[in-house]
Subunit: 344 residues, 2 copies
């Protein structure tokens, strides 16, 4: 008979309006059998090690229809990207002891019924937590967003908002490696220091201390912006549109400033798209997973050779996951927000 | 000695705020010598035949800096696209009697000091006024906007706003010829009838009679929109964003609903760019003039074989040009708005 063990879970109580609070989630004590049930073919029972806190998860906290993601189910464990170790498998391609990253549950153990979108981890000489970020969804997002959507060229002027976040910190470094001039915005002095000193940005500013974003961008980019990597939306996007150069490109990765508003702010300067012949393109990493092996091939040596820096903000313990997730929306995290459930 | 003749001109009195009025312009009696001055090399003295009224001219009525066009000069004749006949030339490539289209003045005779952007008219078996529209800037705008920016494919769902205007009527017909499903919006019953009966649109609606644009689009496109050819901006763009399909494309040609506002309306649904991976791209015809001969090669036989219909709204006489121009912004014109200064 399979061993039955305790399985703590983070449950979403109900759909969330406005700014999410810790009390929107609750820790539930449960149990689980460490075996894939008899009637589940091609399934895995995994032990969760690291969980990823990502801004897109906010949209799953409300009732949504017809989007690229589904709502969380109130009363059930939250799901999201994570790194896990296989405890039992009924899938021919996965075996006990394998490490994987992909969608799992915010709980100690998860039954994964579909292995689609699950990646086996082959390189274990780097921290496993990296597969929640630089070696996982966030890293690949930065890669395909920058190289595939932005059509970057050496010497171009690149601006990145939320620039020290999981995706932003990597986009900036990819742009520097290509020979671009790179400026980032972030929400604290510490983050601005990180951008300049750790990630090698040419310049950076704290948007919370700039009374006029248009003026801040004009100061940093007297000749204008060729590429904007958009993570925040709202007022920043409007200011950027005024400062784009002819034939500029805007890769729309996220709009975190808008996620907790019931009615999104308006963008007023879209006419600049015409006068400056700007291409503005939204993208999702799912459309580029075929390039993931190519990305790993590029990024693994860069990490090992110290040519890319990567900063994580680690929360210890599943019970601290709600605080960690909510912190994303006030910018409390410095770098990629990870939750450690277990280290092995 | 060169003959000196009367030369009526349409003068912009001063920069315009809000909705332009006829009294913002005035008819001025002047005279002109029918000869290029001795000190003007590579210049032309032309007799203006047809003038084009185009929405972009609104932006030239205000003080602008750093845009793709310059402000009109208060106190001087308005300039814009037109068809003209050369009366005298000091340019080796142009001779007396040649017909040209390009930027000229809103006056009976103009001295053109730069022939850049001026095209010689070789095909005179079609109405000369067509070179203010289908065979000129508007036609080429429709061509490059649709074929070069929208990346259209047979069977796709295409929506066009201001669909019976100079550009819209042609985009819709190009899309039908390619085998797309095409719907247009316009601002009167007559225009909607024109779209359905003259231009062969599959469906059309009067946006002024739709209390809910989102519902109107859902009715016309139960499966969503692949391509939106954007001429109006504002509330229509927001409604369209909600109805775009995955990997849709929005070619931003104009935003006429916004041109008379001191502060443009906000666009609230840009997050759809991400969830639906939409590419939204502004363009200007100037970037595509190298394709103009290719366009003529395509469109001339279509017109001659009756496979493309083209509707003009003709105003007679230079003195009626201000009314004609202003009419664009209330949608008074049906089809391409042209002013006849002289027929030969």
């Amino acid at each position: 008979m399979a061993e039955e063990v305790s399985n703590k879970q983070i449950i979403l109580r109900d759909y969330v309006k406005g700014f999410p609070k810790e009390s929107d989630m609750t820790l539930k004590a449960s149990t689980v059998k460490l075996k894939v049930p008899e009637d589940c073919s091609d399934a895995l029972l995994v032990k969760n090690l690291y969980l990823s806190c990502d801004p897109y998860m906010r949209s799953r906290m409300r009732k949504i229809e017809g989007s690229y993601v589904e709502s969380f189910t109130p009363g059930s464990a939250i799901t999201g990207y994570g790194v896990a170790k296989i405890v039992d498998s009924s899938h021919p391609n996965f075996k006990k002891g394998d490490l994987v990253w992909g969608i799992t549950g915010w709980e100690e153990y998860s039954l994964i019924r579909s292995t689609q979108g699950l990646f086996k981890i082959h390189h274990t000489d780097l921290p496993l937590s990296y597969y929640t970020g630089i070696l996982g969804m966030a890293g690949h997002t930065a890669y395909c967003g920058f190289y595939e959507v932005c059509s970057p060229k050496k010497g171009e002027y690149v601006f990145i908002s939320a620039a020290s976040g999981a995706v932003g910190q990597l986009v900036g470094q990819f742009a520097k490696l290509l020979g671009c001039y790179v400026v980032g915005s972030a929400g604290s002095k510490d983050k601005v220091d990180l951008l300049k000193n750790k990630f090698g940005y040419d310049d950076a500013f704290n948007y919370k201390e700039e009374p006029d974003l248009n003026a801040a961008l004009k100061r940093c980019f007297p000749n204008g912006i060729d590429i904007y990597f958009e993570n925040v939306g709202g007022k920043m996007l409007d200011a950027v549109l005024l400062n784009m150069r002819l034939h500029g490109r805007i890769a729309v990765c996220g709009m975190i400033s808008q996620y907790n508003l019931e009615e999104p702010e308006g963008t007023h300067n879209l006419f600049c798209l015409i006068t400056k012949r700007i291409r503005m393109e939204g993208f999702l990493v799912f459309d580029y997973y075929h390039l993931y092996p190519k990305y790993l091939e590029m990024v693994l040596p860069l990490i090992k050779d110290g040519k890319i820096n990567y900063v994580e903000d680690i929360a210890e313990g599943l019970e601290n996951a709600p605080t960690a997730l909510i912190g994303l929306f006030s910018g409390r995290n410095v770098g990629k927000q990870v939750v450690v459930v277990a280290r092995e």
